[in-house]
């Protein structure tokens, strides 16, 4: 095992899959000679050539639509949206063509769309979005969001090998901040299973992506309470049993995510708990999320919008005292 950053783990996972399977190739803007806006594909063009590391024109629908065609013909494209925000420009191909292909005509579309998501670096309203909830309303797409380096590699491998279109949310803020032991060689982290990031008995914080780290930091010591932290890892398919298991153990739940609140992943998790575990609850299910505003540019404004460690602490304290 080697210690890697979250970014190197993604890069390593993609490289391993490309070395092992000739049908895997990547495409996106500036991913070739430049190595990608965040350098995930740095050095790839030298190793795999310009055909398999395709520097595309600036056209997101072209990236996704072309990937659909290549995927149904047996290749395994991995598309990079330079920023998650730009998926809006390729949304039609993703939700109308890729997502519905199997339902309408039984044809699998094995492709991955990598989305560098999230805020925390003054990216402003067009470089900081967390668009995952958009995809939960498009049946046919799988959606994953790793929070650790080894999950980043293993979930990417699973996404690439899955016969469906998978939206892979990689959080930009974690790229160089999160490090961890990452197994060498190829391995998969299965989609649809939560990870218990920390065991606990008094309260559960359910989160994914960058907020898992915030949850762990905020709850490592809250007045001696034993707080469980659940990392969803995969939003579609959602590990409902994994969620309910923890809820039944602790009876108190905080749902935390960086994306805006209304109709978000948190709303779905809360509704699940309300319907399936109402009698197990010892308090209201609490959401900590960004409010329903675009992500502002200026650092104090951005801090005011994105969930902070203190926001999580406060929510947990209030619920523990309920």
């Amino acid at each position: 095992m080697a210690e890697m950053t979250y970014l190197s783990a993604i890069s390593d996972g993609l490289r391993e899959e490309m070395r092992h399977d000739e049908s895997v190739f990547c495409m996106g803007e500036d991913i070739g000679a430049f190595g990608g806006a965040f350098k995930v594909t740095d050095g790839f063009i030298e190793e795999f050539g310009a055909d398999r590391v395709w520097d595309t024109p600036l056209a997101e629908n072209a990236i996704i639509g072309t990937a659909v065609g290549a995927a149904v013909e047996g290749l395994r494209p991995v598309c990079e949206m330079q920023f998650a925000d730009f998926i809006s420009c390729g949304f039609d191909q993703l939700v109308n063509v890729a997502a519905k292909m199997h339902y309408r005509q039984g044809l699998a579309v094995p492709m991955v769309v990598r989305l560098p998501s999230g805020g925390g670096f003054s990216g402003g309203p067009y470089h900081s979005q967390n668009p995952e909830a958009w995809f939960l309303q498009a049946p046919g797409l799988k959606v994953v969001a790793p929070s650790t380096a080894d999950d980043a590699k293993g979930l990417l491998a699973s996404a690439i090998r899955d016969p469906n279109p998978v939206v892979y949310l990689e959080h930009k803020h974690l790229y160089r901040r999160v490090k961890g032991e990452v197994p060498e060689g190829r391995y998969e982290v299965p989609l649809g299973r939560v990870r218990v990031a920390r065991e606990g008995t008094d309260l559960t914080v359910i989160s994914y992506g960058a907020m898992v780290g915030i949850a762990l930091e905020a709850t490592q010591d809250i007045d001696g309470a034993s707080v469980e932290v659940i990392d969803l890892r995969s939003l579609v398919p959602l590990d409902t049993e994994g969620i309910l298991r923890s809820v039944r153990k602790t009876s108190k739940v905080v749902v935390l995510h960086e994306a805006t609140r209304s109709c978000g992943v948190g709303a779905e998790v809360c509704a699940l708990i309300a319907q399936e575990a109402f009698e197990d609850l010892d308090g209201p299910v609490v959401r900590v999320t960004a409010p329903d505003v675009p992500i502002p540019f200026s650092p104090p404004l951005e801090r005011a919008v994105l969930p902070q460690v203190d926001d999580v602490k406060e929510a947990c304290r209030e619920l523990l005292a309920y």
Binding site: P57, A62, G65, T66, V68, Y103
Partner: protein, 353 residues
Amino acid sequence: MATTTAKPAAIEDGGRRAVLTQEDRRALLRYMLLMRATEERALALYRQGKVPGSYYDGRGQEAISVGSAFVLGPRDRTCILHRDLGAHLIRGVRPGRVLAQMMGRAGGVTGGKDGNMHFGDTELGCVGMVSMLPDMALVTCGLALSFQMRKEPRVAMTWFGEGSTANGQWHEAMNVAGVRKLPAVFILENNQFAYSTPNEREFAVDPVKRAEVYGFPGVKVDGNDVEAVFYAAAEACERARSGGGPTLIECETMRMHGHGAHDDMRYVPKELFDVWAERDPIDRYERKLADDGIDVEQITASAKEEIERETEWALSQPMPEGPEALSGVFATSEPRLGDGNAPWSFWKEAANG
């Protein structure tokens, strides 16, 4: 830009001449007749209330999908649009399955999951369209990309109306195809109207002229002349297979029915309609083949008989069961696009060595 109005010199492909035998010409007429007869029957079923939703056909445009798809080999792939039933039939879809599809029956190509002409039999190498036009032009680029990456001499072909050329995804597809010199053939059906919007309100520059600025050839053909369409498509496919990149073929035609069955075409000047009615692609080709001594009546009678049989089959198909609606959202196995029918004698000769 080149304009093809008459049969060009025979096209060479691997030392074999791309010409139409008398048998091929009979097949071209048969497919056009089957397309029209299937659509006429579907329209009747719609009026009887047996086709839910709306109904869209390609009356007057039969020469285009038939003439172009006839060129394709079994391993070529297609993204076929809603006025191109002829291409489905050539790839091998039975008319009965098309009628069942339109009626939302279990025996339809999508088993009732999608309707109208939103289908493609994947076993025959067809990827079905979506309503957002021209999305499939990009999927076609992806199919062509896979052939190019694997160094396979195969072609991806798609069809779209001139209305599609106003959409950004059409530009993205032409640009990508031009940049990568993809083995793709784009068939533009200029049927004069995008729903009710006439050419002069659709674009300031004839779309076929744009091919040159995307870096590949554009040709204009008489879309009501099945052999002209065939030869233009044959030349384009040969170019694609030999690494010469994409071609845009604009077929000039007229949509002789409304955008859908609900559309009374009040926006079409009667004179324009009358001019095009004189140029009906099937009538013209029947006269031409009859002049060449081909027994047209026998082909017509056989097509009629086939549609009767297929209609009966389609009407005998059950409707799908409700719970089926919940199945098939996610794939559990790899994609599989199969090979299609390729009735042109060129391919039969190739198969026989």
